[in-house]
């Protein structure tokens, strides 16, 4: 259990945006600060992955502190590939738990759409072990999950259609989320016929390049949303080092720790945002987090259990696949959606007043994972 509470949230629209990296950061942060009632901020943490390589812009923490008039306070940028946002949030929590800070602003941001796909893919590849033989072989992030998916199909009854059903569900959710990147409905047929990115993953199975930012204000002072637990672990950095290709131990272990610290289990969770960087990843993560049995996550998809109306609603925001994936912002955007769910005013609001919510944010091919469990109190 932590003594940390969420006081305010903010998020820009996700998609292809004209605003600069800095403007996105300031817009989301201002909304979160206003939502929290403009408290005095003691520190700032920012999650960001490629501001330096793609936008030639660093010092993101100081930009916020200076341009939002927060004063001479400490500010820090946090990098953990696609888990940068979740790790920044955890650093904010730890700062409060240490007693050093009372109230912290955490923001996440990425600006990707202005660069070419090969250049962004190249920048994303910096989250691999770049000295490894498998990086030299040409493995990519989608490629890793393509290799995983083909083996998953081989060992289970799952097919490409199950992956398509994940993509379709998340698109249906995204269409009803005004902040999501993709407002256009699709169909199973369109998803299955889409061009291949890395076999068997097609265009709709892969999260897009996205511009966007999200922010959150947390404090030791009480609010109706309690951060019940926070966990983070590191895992294998190479595919050829995986003991079991169909398991991502960083996800499983971060989940186990978060449940243990919160004193509850997967059966208690009412609403979930997990890191569906690829449709395959969502299925594996639902297994690793204990919502479904190992190698049976695909059956839960078939039965509709992860839909908004299901018993384990996953990615009611549209997920990375349809809300969009501005890398450093994703971990914070997941929390934004869950706070809205717990407040009862979310896009795709789940029924029966959800009380416990879980966010899981992944970096690399399982190099980092964070889990946060939120509770309405």
């Amino acid at each position: 259990m932590t003594n940390v509470y969420i006081h305010g949230i903010g998020m820009t629209k996700f998609g292809k945006l004209e605003s600069s990296l800095k403007e996105l950061l300031l817009e989301a942060s201002t909304e979160a600060l206003n939502d929290a009632g403009r408290p005095k901020i003691d520190a700032v943490f920012v999650g960001n992955f490629m501001g330096g390589s793609i936008s030639n812009q660093e010092i993101l923490g100081a930009l916020i502190a200076n341009d939002l008039g927060l004063g001479y306070i400490p500010s820090t940028k946090v990098e953990g590939a696609c888990a940068s946002g979740g790790i920044a949030f955890r650093q904010g929590i730890l700062g409060i738990l240490s007693g050093e800070y009372e109230t912290v602003l955490v923001a996440g941001v990425e600006k990707m759409k202005h660069a070419s796909t090969p250049d962004v893919t190249q920048a994303i590849n910096s989250a691999m072990d770049t000295s490894s033989t498998e990086k030299h072989a040409g493995l990519t992030f989608p490629g890793f999950f393509g290799v995983l998916a083909n083996r998953y199909f081989y060992e289970t009854g799952a097919t490409k259609e199950h992956l398509a059903r994940v993509a379709l569900k998340n698109r249906e959710n995204g269409v009803r989320n005004p902040l999501a990147q993709f407002p256009k409905p699709t169909s199973l047929e369109e998803i299955l016929a889409a061009r291949m990115i890395t076999d068997p993953l097609g265009l709709f199975d892969c999260s897009p390049m996205t511009d966007g930012a999200a922010a959150i204000v947390i404090s030791r002072k009480k609010s109706p949303i309690h951060v019940r637990s926070s966990s983070q672990v590191s895992g294998p950095t190479q595919m050829q080092d995986a003991v079991d290709l169909l398991s991502i131990p960083a996800i499983g272990e971060s989940g186990r720790l978060a449940y243990e610290k919160a004193g509850l289990g997967p059966e208690d969770i009412d609403v979930i945002e997990i890191h569906d960087c690829f449709s395959m990843t969502e299925i594996i993560a639902t297994e690793e987090l204990g919502f479904f049995n190992r190698l049976e996550g695909w059956k839960a998809v078939e039965e509709g259990r992860t839909k908004v109306t299901g018993d384990k609603p996953v990615n009611t925001s549209g997920g990375l696949l349809s809300r969009g994936h501005p890398i450093g912002a994703t971990g914070i955007a997941q929390l934004y959606q869950l706070v809205r769910q717990l407040r009862g005013n979310a896009a795709n609001q789940v029924a029966n007043n959800p009380r416990l919510a879980l966010a899981q944010n992944l970096g690399g091919t399982g190099s980092y994972s964070t889990v946060h469990i939120l509770e309405r109190v």
Binding site: P118, D119, L139, T140, P142, L148, Q240, L245
Partner: protein, 106 residues
């Protein structure tokens, strides 16, 4: 192909320290580069440095003589269970090829 072993775990990557005993006493052994395809993908959308060879196949290979896997590029289209062997090492990458007319089941 060189394999590093410690505490019952084989790996083709040499770690500074073993995750189980924290020591740096890996035993090095030479094993055959032959193996079977554990899984695969064909990469159509490549990073800038590989764009000129796309689409290309990347495979995860289960080595026959060690409890270890190796990631490699391969010219031919393959299926899980296909028998493969090292063709060459090219720009730091293992490049494999199919062993014709044989097929092992994983």
């Amino acid at each position: 192909m060189k394999i590093y072993s410690c505490c019952g775990t084989d790996s083709i990557t040499k770690k500074y320290a073993c995750s189980k005993c924290s020591e740096s006493k890996h035993e090095e052994k030479e094993v055959s580069d032959k193996g079977t395809v554990y899984s695969y993908t064909k990469i159509h959308i490549a990073p800038a440095e590989f764009a000129d060879i796309a689409p290309y196949n990347v495979v995860l290979i289960d080595l026959d003589e060690a409890n270890a896997k190796v990631t490699a590029r391969i010219q031919e289209d393959v299926e899980i269970g296909d028998a493969v062997k090292l063709s060459r090492i090219e720009n730091g990458a293992y490049v494999y090829e199919k062993i014709q007319n044989t097929s092992a089941v994983v």
